[in-house]
Symmetry: C2
Subunit: 201 residues, 2 copies
């Protein structure tokens, strides 16, 4: 007896949708059936928005943030402080920093961090571009804003070694107690970093 | 000070993706960023699969199941038992029934159930098509396989009233204890239905 299944076009769509992050087999099936059953033009609009975003968006030539022109909105802004560079892992790390309104310089996204386990070597990152910017823009300070974990720290140290020879102040984000966090909820490493990084009152 | 955001193409894509079922603001953002950052051709393949499925798939003229031809695979199959019709709410209810291998007749999907709260009236469902099939196919039995809840029951009763005048046996799925379910986990309504529907040993 022949087993009835969804037609190929639906099963193919389910397989494609499963590649999206955070979408498992059941969500993929649910979304695919919504696509084929929707009475409005939303599915076509979504397909078009994907294609449009893919062709409109690329990485800013300088910093790697999302851009529609050669330079992103930040790099093209003449009012940003010159000589102050903040190095982040991903372009998506830039918006949270912008929301603080505490930084008015420019950014440099590496596109990841050195991770032998994930086979990410220094040459896979935008490190040559960073060196080039240091040489051409001659910044006064570079703030490293990588993750406070083993790979983030290792990448920071690697870059600090590389940039040692330039006349630029190298700093990194403070490590310590998160806002609203009591001592009882802080882990040992956070507490020991908060202790060693204590500031004068 | 101007607030930096994602470029319009990304924000538009996030808004579009939020329309998909089960996708909230954070998943939509995560998927959109994956779309614009993916190095492979998956995003284009997904957009194409959506468009292709939309144009390839339509409702079977007879039963309403997903079809690529005028008739779906089930309605076009000459080996299915003639004269036995199973009425379901949604085309997606057909696959679970097929998986049981316990039914070899044909189906009729209503495309929903009568629901005044959701503004679904009888004329919004494929009821005229059902009557037409009863008149032309002259089935011996119609099995109602709608949900065992208030609206499913109401829709079943509405259809039973309509079909009373035809020479056809009207039945519905048994209500009772689910397989593997003990008495302690059954709710009152399930138990009282299991009692009143008890079968002779």
């Amino acid at each position: 007896m022949k087993r009835i299944q969804y037609p190929d076009a639906i099963r193919g769509l389910i397989a494609q949708l499963r590649q999206m992050p955070g979408v498992g087999p059941r969500s993929a099936e649910r979304i695919a059936l919504w696509f084929v059953q929707a009475r409005g033009p939303q599915p076509e609009a979504i397909a078009q928005a994907i294609t449009e975003a893919r062709s409109a968006i690329h990485a800013c030539r300088l910093c790697g943030f999302f851009a529609t022109e050669e330079l992103c909105e930040i790099c093209a802004d003449p009012s940003r402080t010159e000589g102050l560079l903040c190095v982040v892992e991903q372009p998506t790390d830039i918006l949270p920093l912008e929301k603080t309104s505490a930084f008015r310089g420019k950014y440099h996204s590496l596109g990841g961090r050195i991770s032998p386990l994930d086979r990410v070597a220094p040459e896979d990152l935008r490190i040559a571009e960073l060196i080039e910017r240091v040489e051409s823009e001659n910044p006064k300070e570079i703030i490293f804003a990588l993750a406070a974990d083993v790979e983030g720290e290792a990448t920071t140290h690697y870059l600090v070694d590389l940039l040692q020879k330039y006349q630029v102040q190298l700093t990194r984000l403070a490590h310590g107690l998160p806002a609203g966090g009591g001592l009882e909820s802080a882990d040992e490493l956070t507490l020991s970093r908060a202790l060693s990084g204590r500031t004068r009152l």
